[in-house]
Every structure is written in structure tokens, then in C-alpha cells.
Assembly symmetry: C2
Homo-oligomer: 334 residues x 2
């Protein structure tokens, strides 16, 4: 058995490139007491991966030479813990590698489900982030207008579909006419505007004739600035991410902050999916219901092969994915 890993060769100073990574042969690790050897099946590719390379966030910063961190779904190959057995499927904080050894205490046992990719998308962090951010932070009420950026992305697509199921008017923001068309046709949004359009301000106004009650912000920057102008009094801005600010050294702040927050009495609130872990069962029950009724469609964008993880992340930052992006490192257990 061979092992490979992808390390951060050099931290990016601007736009991420393949040269920032190095695919390396690695030793096959051996578990000690209370550890398990894992075979990586799927790795989640997220904008947050890039933000970890900018400094400490809710986790320690990634340094040059480190194996690239990731959230993974794995199969237990060998266990030195009485809590896990070979063949168990688990989720864990891990690294970009074929095989890893992890302490048993950091593993979360997953239910048996086919395909496992659904545990990365609608029943995983993407779906739970969308649910907890929209429902727990945004608190939508039927009839309100919900605006979502990165609407063709993993979280944004679920946000819009959940908001629709809750009786809201739903408007997406995405990059380019193809993605915008797909957000409306495939995901059922009421409208979707193109952030690359120089007429974004007017397009948003036309798409949100009653203003915006909840803006679910995945991007920050200029799009946030523009969205703030369209917020209604007492609107809520759910701060989920700032993807426009991660892959640059020239982050700019919205010039209407904090002015419009005062004038319109807005609430801007950040959250991390783990903050709502006590509500996960409720979220999963609701998501399963909406999948069963067809109100949520599951979009997954699966890239094959560990070696393609860097290009997958670079593509995500450039907006090239549709739905939840992940890398398949090995097959689901049959």
C-alpha cells in the first residue's frame, strides 16, 4: 500500500495557483493506541480552505510545508480504538492524503447512506450551514424577500431552496449568464442576477421590487456593498463567508458600513455551522423532508482523484463549480 499527500509548498500572496501545492509520496502511517488508520473517500472543497491560508481563523493558520487541511469522509481500515471497527464510515478534520491516522476522539461516525456524497452536500456541512444560517440567524417569514450570493455554490443553492420552501421570494446572485439561468431553472429561484454585470445595482432593484429582508452573504466586498443599499429596514444580513476577500491582498470594506446598519437598523450576524450542532437533528429532518417532496434538488460537483484537489480549489475560487464541490479519492464501500 502506498500513500500520497498534498502539501502547501508556499503560502499564496495573491491568487492561489497550482504552484502553491506539491503532491508528495508519504509514508503509510501506523495507528497507535486510541488512533485509527483511515482511507480517504471524499474530501470537501470549500472557500474556507483558502481563508485558512490567510491566518488564524476559528482554526490555526495553515503554514508552508503543512499537508493541506480538509474535512473528509473516510473508511476505517485499522482501529486501535474500541469505539471504531474496520469498515466504519466516519467524518473528520483531516488532510489531503490517500491515508491518514487520526485520534479516535476527533472522528464522527456517519450513518450508512448511499451515496456517501450526500453527507458532504445536502445532509452535510453545506445543507446544515444553509439551514442554520437561514433559519437560525436570518429567521425568515413567508412573504419576505431573501437574497443569496454565490447562489450556484453549495451553500447558496440550499439557502434559496429552503427559503422558497418557507414561502419567501428568493433572488440569487451568481457569476455569468449560464450560472444565473441554472439557478432559476434548476433550483427554482424567482430570479438571479449576475454580479459581473455593471448594472448590478439596477438589476437587483428590478429583481427585488419590495426590497430585501434577508441577505445571505457568502461573498462580502462589492456585492455586499451593493446588496446593503437594497435592504429594508430591520433587515438581516447573515454573514456566512467572504469569498471575494479570500484570494486577494486588496480586500476592501463596504463603504456603506456601518452607516446603513444604523440608518436601516440592520442586524449583521456571523455564524459557524458548529455553533448550531444542537439543532443538527432538526435540520436533517427538515432537509430530508424537502428532498422527499422535491423542494430541494441536490447538486453535487465531484472531481475524481486526489491529485486534482488543487485545481478543484482554484476552480472553486474562480467560481467554476455548480453545487457542492468535493474530490473523490477512493470509491464508496460496495
Amino acid at each position: 500500500m502506498q500513500n500520497r499527500q498534498i502539501a502547501v509548498a508556499e503560502l499564496p500572496t495573491g491568487t492561489l495557483t497550482e504552484a502553491n501545492f506539491a503532491l508528495e509520496k508519504a509514508i503509510m502511517p501506523t495507528p497507535k493506541d486510541n488512533e485509527v488508520l483511515l482511507r480517504t473517500i471524499l474530501m470537501s472543497i470549500d472557500a474556507a480552505n483558502r481563508s485558512w491560508m490567510q491566518g488564524a481563523t476559528y482554526r490555526a493558520a495553515v503554514k508552508a510545508g503543512d499537508a493541506m487541511p480538509t474535512y473528509s469522509i473516510c473508511e476505517v481500515v485499522e482501529s486501535k480504538s474500541d469505539r471504531f471497527s474496520a469498515g466504519d464510515i466516519v467524518a473528520t478534520e483531516s488532510v489531503w492524503a490517500d491515508y491518514v491516522v487520526c485520534p479516535a476522539r476527533q472522528l464522527q461516525k456517519l450513518p450508512d447512506m448511499a451515496p456517501l456524497s450526500n453527507l458532504m452536500s445536502v445532509y452535510g456541512i453545506a445543507g446544515k450551514t444553509a439551514f442554520h444560517g437561514l433559519v437560525g440567524v436570518g429567521k425568515p417569514i413567508a412573504g419576505e424577500t431573501v437574497l443569496v450570493s454565490a447562489a450556484a455554490g453549495s451553500v447558496g443553492g440550499y439557502v434559496g431552496q429552503i427559503a422558497k420552501a418557507l414561502g419567501c421570494r428568493v433572488v440569487g446572485i451568481a457569476g455569468g449568464p449560464d450560472k444565473c439561468a441554472s439557478v432559476v431553472q434548476d433550483l427554482g429561484f424567482d430570479a438571479c442576477v449576475d454580479y459581473q454585470d455593471p448594472g448590478l445595482f439596477k438589476a437587483l432593484k428590478a429583481a427585488c421590487p419590495n426590497g430585501v429582508d434577508i441577505y445571505f452573504d457568502n461573498v462580502g466586498g462589492k456585492v455586499l456593498e451593493t446588496a446593503l443599499f437594497h435592504m429594508n429596514e430591520r433587515g438581516r444580513v447573515v454573514c456566512c463567508g467572504a469569498i471575494s476577500q479570500y484570494d486577494t491582498n486588496n480586500a476592501t470594506g463596504p463603504r456603506n458600513l456601518p452607516g446603513l446598519v444604523v440608518v436601516k437598523r440592520l442586524r449583521m450576524e456571523g455564524f459557524i455551522v458548529m455553533d448550531f450542532a444542537d439543532q443538527d437533528a432538526t435540520a436533517l429532518r427538515a432537509l430530508k423532508h424537502w428532498v422527499s417532496t422535491g423542494q430541494i434538488k441536490v447538486q453535487e460537483d465531484i472531481v475524481e482523484g486526489l491529485e486534482n484537489a488543487p485545481s478543484a480549489l482554484i476552480g472553486l475560487l474562480a467560481g467554476r463549480n455548480r453545487g457542492k464541490l468535493m474530490v473523490r479519492v477512493s470509491a464508496d464501500p460496495s
Copy 2:
């Protein structure tokens, strides 16, 4: 009887100057049915006056040629309404003038209190804004650290004193060593840092060894950006004003927004004092209690003469006031 008013001669395009205003003779107005003639006693001078000159906010924009709007305390001279009698003391949205006629429905009858200036400061908008913003939006808990900008200003001084009374560690931000010393010595803050100090970041860190749980923001801009770096997880930013952004055409947004809101799960929330009108009686009871115990000291900065209103507002924007700034146009009734 003569009347005078101060009009906006020309809207400012940058820093406000005396040339933006014109003192004019005005006709003595006559009340019609359901109107009253008012003698202006005190006019509130607020940073918000300047923001009204930048465009529509929670009220219509001020235009060139308009008499300058203000919040005033007045005595009823002549009433064509059965709700008011000559001699009543009222608060109203008004203009910079010796006499005005207002619709009776927009007047609020004030209690008999000497001096009336207290109804502009601790028992007026300043004290109520401080109470509602800190208690209703910030929700402090004893032991937390509360940071307040414009701490030598009308609202900021009360915020800090209320937070102290509630058992918090209180740190102010003010302009220049004299104001900072006064905030500590006269108002009892635990510390006060100078925003003009190039070492603001380190000074804040030293003054807030346990980080900041609530930042009561009156200023926006660079000070907000710096404060955000010191916020604790789940911190609250009470967005009360953005005085640094009003008197300029080069407003800049904090570059760490919305990134830090996500990472630290912050809540930033704006409010207007009127939003909490249903809690005004509670606020006044608490403020009177703390004044009676000496936990709140009342600072008032009263400029004499209608004609000095422009220089008073210009001075406020330059940070030259201590405590609640108002212009006395005529004497309290004896």
C-alpha cells in the same frame, strides 16, 4: 417680535464650514388650526445633523435653501390646538430659528423640570440612546468588557457610565489626551485610549486584556476597523453612528468586514432611539436612579445664541465638545 432662522446656504461637499449656512431675518409665523407658535429654548446639536446633509436617511435629506432641521425644546407662545396651552414646554422636530409654527400632532409635551437642559442630555435623546443601545441591543452582562467610541461625547459618556453601573469593565476611545483624561477622571471609565495615537491597536489591547465583548460604535471607519480586531467571539457591535464618515466625501469601509463578523460570530446591529420608545419609561427610571446614586454624572456643553449654532455643529464634528452639546436660543421659563 422679530424672528431669525439659519438656512443651509449651500450643501457641504467636504468638511462643513460656516459658509454652508446663512443667518436670515424671517417672518414671524402665524399658527393655523391645530398648529402652535413655539419659542425655541434649546436646540440639540448632533452629529446626525451633518448626516442629514448627505442624503435621505431615516428622514428626508436636507436641501440647499432649507432652514436647518433640529430637535428642539420650546415653549408654546400661542396655541390653535386644544391639546396645548401657552406656557407648555414641548419637544419637537423643528428648525434653527427663534420662533416656529408646528402642527400640534408632532409635539411631545415635556414634564416640568429644572433645568430643561437635562431633557436634552441625560433624560433626553442622549441618555435614552445610550440606555437603549447598550441595554436593548448590546445586552451587557456584569464582568464583560464594554468599549465605547466618542466617549467624551453626549451618548458615549452615558454608555460608559451605565455599563459601569451594570458591573462591566469600561474602556473609552476619545480624541486627544485631555479628553481621555477627563473620561477616566470625571466619568469613571476604567481606561480611555486616544484614537489619534498611531499606537491605537496596542493601546486598545493593553486597555482590554480580556478582549471586547461589546463595542458601542459612534464613529465607524478606522476606529471600528481597529476595534473589530479586539472583539471576542460572540461579541456585539452596537451601531449607533458613524461620525467619522459624515463630514467627508472619502468614506472608507472597514476592510475586516464582513470577514471578522463570520470568523468571530459577531452581531452588528443598528438602532434608532425611537425604535425603543416603548421602553422609554424603564430607561428614564433607571437613569434617574443612577443620577441619584451618583453613578451617572451629567455633562452638558451649552452654547449661547442661535447665531452660534453653525460653529457649534462644526466644533462637534471636530470633536470639540464635552458631553451633550446644545444651543440656548432663549431662557428657560422662570
